[in-house]
Symmetry: none
DNA sequence: CTTTTTTTTGCATTGTTTTGCATTTTTATA
DNA sequence: TATAAAAATGCAAAACAATGCAAAAAAAAG
């Protein structure tokens, strides 16, 4: 049996049973217990389960049902992202033109926007965001054009940036993979970097939305230094010493009071 | 057994089994495992499956945004549209740049394109077409930007036409709501009209794809006279007297022989 | 219909990943 | 703390994948 297939079977079995013994899976799947352990290790890294002595237990995410709609790269830190989203929309005023780039945090923002606002203009390169906001008649939703990245459900490239470059954006809510004082905003999504840079160049009020786990990490490609950013919105788990250090560097951060 | 036949068999088997071992396919199809691997490689590029160690697993994108757009409204004259689609793609050559506007006939064309071509550049304003072609690594798919029309799953407006206006299109396959000698191409989709006009202005070879039911009908908004069109592709049910009359007016039509 | 060209296929070689076993270390519980 | 069960670790065998190449099969050209 294929490894991936085995993983699917374990996942299905676990969802049903909530907890499984490794030895049980070994006989069930006709492989050695070592292989089962390695499988469980992989699935744990995906955030699907928690390994315990003897086997594993299902890690239930509250919003699993909701996440199913968007799926793929599993949404960890979901609750933190929701916290960030709720805080970030406080910065927005009715009628403004907003840019949201591609990412799971901005998706959470889009969900909150639908609830809280009557009239907005939103430009995005993320089809999942379009899916959330597009049906809403009160919002003016503009999708950038461009090449399609089916892994991320986003658009990128010359056409994308061309459309963006004709916009005057009141407030940009940007999500990136990593940020640090030393390296600034960084990301591994090679196509997304140009999009973010273009958005920033067209925006008056530049806001980065990032859950606390992204602070003081860095990724391969540099987007811009942190001094170019007006505000970083994060969640309540940001360690005090980091917040302090950012303050010392004159980088404004905002977390739930 | 022919390569294409083998690919179809693999596809069918995989859809049933969800996951297959390469060795299993080799015995099943009576070819070496190397050939199976090469087959899987091709099918992976088409976005149909994901290769894993030992074989491949079906890529079922049930719950992504784009696939949510499908079904819904049932298509009338589906068989006729498929007939038109199969005929229309005969006009296309490997490597060309093609424009497909929004509509159910162009959706059928997109489905056939995946099967028959290796390398194409396609620009469209229809998200359903993006859903069909987007996962295919062999195709360069460009989505126009613009405002989103959730009724039609299409994009329109200044941004949309701006992106289109930078393209040099080899062949445009245009679907409209109605066409007649007297009124030319007409449509009721107010936003789509501008998109079609822009596409036509950027295209060398202008082809209208229309099932026979659309002939000698008309709709509210005029797009252009028929003399601006190089060819109209239709199905086998077009009444002879209409075909004759179009001929008399020097309007070329093409239907299955 | 035959010859030439192109494509496809299977095989051999080499490199990589996965797996099960043996051994040591850790953990749970009496 | 003692003990058994489970987990981690290192390792070698097996399964699998990538590459280059030559023969075979199709397709194209004459």
């Amino acid at each position: 049996m294929l490894q991936e297939h085995r993983h699917q079977k374990i996942e299905a079995y676990l969802k049903q049973q909530k907890a499984v013994k490794a030895s049980e899976l070994a006989t069930l799947l006709n492989v050695s217990i070592d292989t089962v352990r390695r499988d469980l290790e992989v699935l744990e890294k995906k955030g699907l389960l928690k390994r315990v002595h003897g086997g594993a237990i299902l890690k239930q995410n509250k919003d699993n049902v909701l996440n199913k709609l968007f799926n793929e790269r599993e949404v960890n830190h979901l609750e933190k992202k929701q916290e960030v989203a709720s805080l970030a929309i406080e910065l927005i005023e009715e009628g403004q033109a907003i840019a949201l780039n591609g990412g799971t945090t901005t998706i959470e923002i889009a969900k909150v926007l639908v609830e809280k606002f009557k009239r907005l203009t939103i430009i995005t390169n993320d089809l999942r965001i379009l899916g959330i906001l597009g049906a809403n008649k009160n919002f003016n939703v503009i999708l950038t054009g461009g090449f399609y990245n089916p892994e991320e459900y986003t658009l990128y490239g010359k056409q994308c940036e061309e459309v963006l470059s004709h916009f005057n954006i009141d407030i940009a809510l940007i999500t990136v993979n990593a940020l640090s004082i030393e390296h600034g905003l960084t990301d591994f999504r090679i196509h997304e970097v140009g999009v973010i840079q273009t958005i920033l160049s067209r925006t008056k009020y530049k806001v980065v939305v990032a859950d606390s786990s992204k602070f003081e990490t860095s990724s391969y490609i540099t987007i811009c230094p942190l001094k170019n950013i007006d505000l970083i919105v994060t969640d309540s788990s940001l360690p005090f010493h980091i917040a302090e250090e950012y303050d010392r560097h004159n980088i404004r951060t905002l977390s739930p009071s």
